[in-house]
């Protein structure tokens, strides 16, 4: 294939970020900056049980003694953590949590309508339960009663702390310790909401559970916390989607997701990340610095699927600790970068149990002046007799000004392990575009077709409605990058 000449790459981003609207909602803030008083303020505001003050305080102190990491293959200016607000909640909610959809502030409802989130009852019947997190507070969790009948808990984590404190206490920080890393420690100290899922023994959750995150207030970081517990033999599929308004300054998003897959259970976690990527010159955009990790017990399976199209910088490695014998970890990823976006993403598969299996399929697509890095670790500990890993890491370049990098780390301490790694780098060549054009398909549409084909194996893992949305996002984020 011949590379596309630079001069063919004329137009960039003919369409602007569509989700960048701002909404005028009165916010209630914590005092600016971060110190022990602010931690206590958050804890008090949220009326949390006493163990949480301890958890937050320990995390805060650990964080205070850590240094902001910069080892990623991307650049960001040090963040001034004292210039941000660590708690912002729409006033109408924080003062009085809504009991039903009708009580939700119409302005908030309008935001979610514009985001296309199915909050309405008819759409709920379509089978998606939504927990919508706007800045820091969960707005409404739908479909709750239906799930409750099966013993499934799906609610804001703040509500779980109120109603199921023992469950939260038992598992919170059990997979991502409060001092795991700088951003995880920050999250542990200040998180104000997120989702909580509990699926009881033997229960197969019949619908996709879904959360939409949106950063709205200015100068607030978003630190949501997700905790999913699948009891023995259970199954759950969870989806998260995210957007943020356009802002000229950067916004920090430092989430933590913990998955606990008990024996014979299966957790499927899908993300379509579309945070604001910044403008064409690289101003603004979200720093998406997220810690996601799951632990799989005997015969359990955890599958991460992510489609990352947004953010100025995406920096995350959804991981699986394959603790139990015969456990399975999967990671399917599409990361798209355009303009000045940077992504350093991948996964870690830690094989501890015997006969553990992991599979990694990563598709990086870079255009514009962006930089796209796959970084992955496959670790086979001495105990992991017969471990197997297969990794496929493909990079696709559009134009000559972007970069693609692959850092696959492999550490094998058991000789019976079989670890396979395949990697390819390709360009969308003139030949393939001409072939499509000759059949009447215009270049932009051809690029979409080729990209969708390229990502097919990952997109096939998304639930259908998300796959449709993901395809649209891929098309939009690469619009104008060729031709």
């Amino acid at each position: 294939m011949q590379p596309i000449e630079e001069d063919v790459l004329a137009r960039h981003f003919s369409r602007e970020y569509e989700w960048g609207f701002e909404s005028d909602i009165e916010q209630e803030y914590a005092p600016k900056g971060l110190n022990e008083d602010v931690i206590e303020f958050i804890w008090t505001k949220k009326k949390e049980p006493p163990f949480m003050l301890d958890f937050r305080m320990r995390a805060y102190r650990a964080w205070r003694d850590m240094r902001e990491p910069h080892w990623l293959n991307a650049y960001y200016d040090p963040i001034d953590y004292q210039e941000a607000y660590y708690y912002a909640a729409p006033k109408s909610i924080s003062q009085n949590r809504p009991r039903s959809l009708e009580e939700v502030d119409p302005e908030i409802r309008r935001i979610f309508d514009r985001l296309g989130i199915p909050l309405h009852e008819q759409e709920i019947l379509a089978g998606i339960a939504v927990d919508a997190v706007l800045d820091s507070v969960s707005v409404a969790t739908t479909y709750k009663e239906k799930l409750a009948k099966m013993g499934i808990i799906f609610c804001p984590i703040s509500e779980a702390l109120e109603n199921y404190p023992d469950l939260v206490k038992r598992y919170l920080g059990s997979v991502v310790p409060y001092n795991d890393n700088f951003f995880a420690a920050l999250n542990s100290a200040v998180f104000s909401d997120g989702s909580f899922v509990y699926v009881p023994k033997g229960v197969k959750c019949p619908i996709e559970l879904s959360t939409y995150f949106r950063i709205n207030a200015r100068n607030t970081g978003q630190f949501e916390r997700t905790l999913i517990i699948a009891e023995e033999g259970s199954y759950v599929s969870y989806l998260e989607g995210c957007t943020a308004p356009r802002r000229s300054e950067h916004q920090l998003h430092a989430a933590v997701v913990e998955l606990i897959a008990l024996p014979n259970s299966y957790i499927k976690y899908s993300t379509v990340q579309n945070w604001y990527p910044g403008d064409k010159e690289g101003r603004g955009g979200v720093f998406n610095f997220v810690t996601k990790r799951g632990i799989a017990h005997e015969n359990a399976k955890i599958s991460w699927t992510q489609v990352e199209t947004g953010s100025a910088i995406t920096w995350k490695y959804p991981s699986v600790i394959l603790k139990g014998d015969n456990s399975i970890g999967e990671f399917y990823s599409v990361a798209v970068t355009n303009n000045y976006q940077q992504a350093d993403t991948g996964t870690k598969m830690i094989h501890i149990g015997r006969n553990t299996r992991s599979r990694i399929v990563s598709k990086g697509i870079s255009a514009g002046k962006s930089n796209n890095t796959y970084r992955g670790l496959v670790q086979v500990l001495p105990s992991a007799e017969n471990a197997r890993n297969f990794s496929q890491c493909d990079s696709l370049l559009i134009g000559n000004t972007c970069g693609a990098h692959t850092f696959p780390y492999v550490e094998v301490k058991n000789p019976s392990a079989i670890v396979e790694h395949e990697a390819t780098t390709s360009k969308i060549g003139e030949d393939i575009l001409f072939y499509c054009n000759q059949r009447g398909i215009p270049t932009q549409e051809a690029v979409e077709l080729i990209i969708n084909g390229y990502c097919q194996e990952v997109l096939a893992n998304l639930p259908l409605e998300f796959a449709v949305e993901a395809k649209k996002l891929l098309a939009i984020s690469l619009e104008g990058s060729v031709g």
Binding site: M1, E430, D431, I432, F434, Y435, C436, N437, Q438, R439, G440, I441, P442, T443, E445, A446, L449, I450, N452, G453, Y454, C455, Q456, E457
Partner: protein, 248 residues
């Protein structure tokens, strides 16, 4: 349908076609033969509008219209189809997805509504049968893992689906075994019509035994040296290029 007058084409400053004249009328089948490197694929690429092929002199008229300013997709919509000598793979894109996009682009250019899935599938199945292709082939990625022969058959299948006016076949017969050659020839013969024309680029007389051309041209060094009826191909088969052209 197609009128080429004194066509000169350069690639990267290097002249390849040097004063080519050709007139193809609707309903006709023309065979274009010539040694390797003569410029046959170059002509096909120029007609299809591939970038990097510079027309330095002369003109190409399709249905009376100068097409040199049209994009490849506009030429496709106008009814020009090229069966490639080396069809490319498009991983992860099924033949159904690919042809849906192609057909709907053609329909959009004619201000027609996109086909619904049932209509699309019916059309694709019908044309697949014409090429004796297993319907399962429709779900496979375009040309991915296809044998050389399958690729060529798939090109003619796409041609049958898009129903072009001018069909250019660039060495479609190369790499086909005798059974596949017969299938492809039968399909081409079935597609012959008073409103459609064919330009068959080939090295082999064999193909022309199955698809009888109206005119045979011999292209050497960017120019048509001889034209004649089907008997010219027979003469070429017997004598070879050198002898044939020296007796001319």
């Amino acid at each position: 349908m197609l009128t080429i007058q004194n066509l000169h084409v350069s690639v990267e400053g290097c002249p390849i076609l040097q004063g080519l004249n050709l007139e193809v009328k609707a309903g006709e089948v023309h065979a274009l033969m010539g040694p390797n490197g003569a410029g046959k694929s170059t002509l096909a690429a120029v007609l299809a509008g591939k970038e990097g092929y510079e027309i330095t002199e002369g003109e190409v008229l399709f249905e009376g219209r100068d097409i040199s300013e049209l994009s490849p997709e506009e030429r496709s919509h106008a009814g020009i189809f090229l069966a490639f000598q080396y069809p490319v793979e498009i991983p992860g894109v099924s033949m159904i997805q690919f042809l849906r996009a192609a057909l709907n682009a053609h329909r959009a250019a004619k201000q027609q509504e996109p086909l619904d899935t049932a209509e699309l599938m019916a059309l694709l199945r019908e044309k697949a049968a014409l090429l004796k292709l297993d319907p399962a082939f429709l779900s496979r990625s375009v040309n991915e893992g296809f044998s050389g022969g399958e690729r060529k058959r798939a090109e003619i299948f796409q041609m049958a689906v898009l129903e072009p006016k001018l069909c250019i076949l660039d060495e479609t017969d190369s790499g086909l075994d005798i059974d596949a050659l017969k299938i492809v020839s039968d399909a081409v013969n079935a597609l012959r019509s008073p409103t459609r024309a064919f330009l068959l680029i080939t090295h082999y007389y064999r193909l022309l035994q199955y698809i009888r051309p109206d005119v045979v041209h011999i292209l050497v060094e960017g120019r048509i040296m001889r034209s004649g009826g089907p008997e010219l191909a027979v003469e070429l088969e017997e004598k070879g290029y050198e002898a044939l052209l020296s007796t001319a």
